[in-house]
Amino acid sequence: MNRNSLFGPLDPAADAGWDEAPKRKGFLTDTSVCIGCKACEVACKEWNAIPADFSDGITGNSYDNSESLGASTWRHVAFIEQTATPRGSTVELGMPGVRPGLEGVGSGAAGEGEVGEQDGEKPDFRWLMSSDVCKHCTHAACLDVCPTGSLFRTEFGTVVVQDDICNGCGYCVPACPYGVIERRTGDEGTKNVGIAQKCTLCYDRLGAGKTPACAQACPTESIMFGDVDELRERGRARVQELQDRGIDTARMYGDDPEDGVGGAGAMFLLLDEPEVYGLPPDPVVTTRDLPEMWKRAGMAAAGLLAGAALSFLGGRS
């Protein structure tokens, strides 16, 4: 086992036991060019034969009726309408990043085409669009807590559920810091009801030398598939390019191997704080504290033994 097997930078496939694994594969989703077409959602459902999951009509949340990632939504396009000066009677809660400050929007309306206006005129409205997906964490809490071994690390460094092994215990569901994996609900005839389901990074397509369905379908190449190292560099260069053009809110998300999940296999280029997109700002793998917890448990056990021994040594009459 590696010193960083539970936390910290790691090559996950090698750590999982793969000899001569291929280079780690993942996604870079550049939300600055997402057009909200949802081709990724449809392509994913078509390829994986995922059942449709209707909510009760429209959600009322802009054009987003998929609501969130779940057992039957493995790609989810978020729509965030940002107004610098909202005209509705919204209550001010003082929450961070819900609306861009005047300095936050930048001098160009990123995602609306015209970028780089240096004349100082700031747009008062942005419509952010982003395709969310399982992060395929370097330290995947879902995989760590799975008692059956259904969740496993592939040779590509991705995390996949074997639906014929999963017993539906649901431990993985609260473990995931992003709320990605869930157990499928539905009628009896629905495929894999009760089984934990999530994005497989199209493991079956990778094995055939193809790209994942969502990346294949994305018309703007917002979703890019490739080697994680190369995608990380590409994303950072693109952030620099956007910032040079005045969009100072552009940032990477999930690219840091020192972060709470050891960096993600699916990284994002965001145009605002993660909370704006419904993403946790500082996700931490739930097994990070495992060594410390065992140490404390050990100390508590030792203390208990010591106390029991003491109680027998004293007062023997």
Binding site: K38, V42, K45, G57, T59, S62, Y63, E81
Partner: protein, 557 residues
């Protein structure tokens, strides 16, 4: 033969306004017996859905061909007029035939798109069940009619009986599908042999003769089968040919990819720049050449100037690229031939909350209005009752759905992305009318009332015009009520529209109209008509409202 003028008079001719809206109004007068609706859904997609569906109830018969049982096929049992009680299924005498249609992967044929390029598509699989192609339907229908008319001596049956219609496939096929390839050859045209049979295929429309020795379906397509090769089926990859890619598919006419391409060279015949070189004059060979088929007489020199009085193509100079115009020049507008022109002018829409700020003439004086009790118009600014419908609405599309919904509302993966008909309103309008995000709203015009979920968004902005504020309502138009097997349904936005048409091509005004919007669901069942009528009487609408054509002072009527 020349004697019977090559049966030219067998071809159907225009006898009046054959536009769709005029035809629907004739249906209401029992002036139309039958209706073929193939691959469209006018009960949802056309303006004034109620008039469309009522019109259908006057037909003797109609045929609907589609992948699904769309609203235009089921209006007689589950449309809005059945629900409101205006129509009763048992009283409708229209006989509706539904033929399931094959999709483009289930049949041979061509696509022609706006670049004028034809691309052949090959049948990949058999259509499911009883579904058949349009070609199959039309050919077998035609043959059946011809068999019934065989031996007839009526003059009016001659066009059908004199028709040559040999599209029998040479390959045996259990579905008895005719040969699309034979149709394409016939459109291309051929030389007629001594015995009157099919001879060599024509390579270009220039081979067509006015003496009955050639035949062709459409001269602009002649050449699609040049050299006996289906040019539209060519698929040479772009990397293996020039950037113009003339060997992918075939463009009419003559595989010319950009028409008037002589304009890509300057008056002396040189490309305007190296980067833009497309077609140019080659002095050595004394002809035009380049990356595309030159759209010019091949050997006409750039410095050629015709003698005054020369007519025809020889009257066009060597530096006049627009050869389809009599003078070879590019025209910004035509001086004759349009009922509405030549230059655009600002007119307010048929229903407008504002006076025309530019002219005393409010709306287009040449527009076609239909002063009918079933086509009442909302009052415009200045008219009494205009405040009854104080908002403007426009119709548009969503990414997730396709037109009138026939190819999206039956698919779960698309329908779940946008499951319901919704309206988009600004926060200001929501506050003014008490609309809640995620709640329901009813939108009403002089035609009907529809219900929609509400989406409150800053993307919709109040308009400030002439010192006043007017609010907009945005309506995506993809939903329909009824239709069998649809995964999602909803009211149709186009039911709100009336019929006012442009005079040249009879296109409806569907992008700007007025309405009222109120919170809550539409009155159900037979309460909806009284609700709409109440608005009409409060606004004092008559058949004259908003239909005045000339509104300038002292103008002649």
């Amino acid at each position: 033969t020349a004697d019977n003028e090559y049966c030219f008079h067998h071809l159907p001719k225009l006898t009046g306004d054959h536009g769709t809206y005029n035809t629907v109004m004739r249906m209401l007068e029992d002036g139309v017996e039958g209706y073929f609706v193939m691959g469209e859904n006018p009960a949802v997609g056309s303006a004034h859905g109620r008039m469309q569906r009522l019109g259908m109830s006057h037909l003797k018969w109609m045929v609907v061909r589609d992948f699904q049982l769309i609203e235009s096929a089921t209006w007689w049992k589950d449309g809005p007029e059945i629900r409101s009680g205006e129509l009763r299924t048992e009283d409708i005498e229209t006989e509706v035939f539904f033929f399931p249609a094959a999709s483009h992967v289930e049949k041979d044929g061509t696509f022609t798109q706006t670049q004028r390029m034809l691309q052949w598509h090959h049948k990949a699989v058999d259509p499911p069940g009883d579904a058949r192609s349009e070609l199959h339907f039309m050919w077998h229908l035609g043959n059946t009619i011809r068999r019934r008319l065989a031996g007839s001596t009526e003059e009016r049956d001659r066009p059908l009986l004199d028709l040559t219609w040999d599209y029998q496939s040479d390959e045996p096929n259990p579905l008895d599908e005719p040969s699309a390839d034979k149709v394409l050859r016939e459109i291309n045209g051929w030389k007629i042999t001594e015995s009157g049979g099919q001879g060599e295929l024509l390579n270009s429309y220039t081979e067509m003769k006015a003496d009955g020795s050639t035949t062709g379906g459409c001269w602009i397509y002649t050449g699609v089968y040049a050299g006996g090769v289906n040019q539209s089926a060519r698929r040479k990859p772009g990397q293996e040919q020039s950037w113009v890619a003339p060997e992918w598919g075939w463009a009419w006419p003559s595989n010319r990819r950009i028409i008037y391409n002589r304009a890509s060279a300057d008056p002396e015949g040189r490309p305007w720049s190296e980067r833009k070189a497309y077609v140019w004059w080659d002095e050595e060979s004394g002809s035009w050449t380049g990356h595309d088929v030159p759209d010019f007489q091949a050997t006409k020199r750039p410095d050629f100037r015709p003698e005054p009085g020369t007519s025809g193509p020889d009257g066009i100079a060597g530096d006049d690229p627009f050869i389809m115009q009599a003078d070879g020049k590019g025209w910004l507008y035509v001086p004759t031939g349009l009922l509405d022109g030549p230059m655009p002018a600002h007119y307010e829409p048929q229903e407008s909350p504002f006076r025309n700020a530019v002219y005393g003439q409010q709306s287009n004086p040449t527009r076609q209005v239909f002063k009918r009790k079933d086509n009442l118009q909302n009052p415009s600014d200045g008219d009494p009752g205009a405040e009854t419908y104080p908002y403007v609405f426009t119709t548009y599309r969503l990414t997730e759905h396709h037109t009138a919904g026939g190819m999206s509302r039956w698919l779960p993966y698309l329908s779940e992305l946008q499951p319901q008909f919704f309206c988009e309103v600004s926060p200001e309008l929501a506050a003014e009318r008490g609309l809640a995000n995620g709640g329901w709203a009813t939108i009403v015009t002089a035609r009907t009332a529809v219900e929609a979920r509400v989406l409150v968004t800053d993307r919709m902005r109040p308009l400030t015009v002439d010192g006043r504020t007017v609010h907009q309502v945005g309506l995506p138009y993809h939903w329909g009520q009824g239709g069998q097997g649809a995964v999602v349904d909803g009211d149709s936005a186009n039911d709100l529209l009336g019929i006012t048409l442009d005079p040249n091509v009879h296109i409806q005004e569907s992008k700007a109209a007025t309405c009222d919007i109120r919170p809550g669901r539409r009155p159900a069942g037979n309460a909806v008509r009284p609700f709409v009528e109440d608005y009409i009487s409060r606004a004092g609408i008559t058949v004259e409202t908003s239909n005045e054509l000339r509104t300038t002072e002292g103008g002649q009527q």
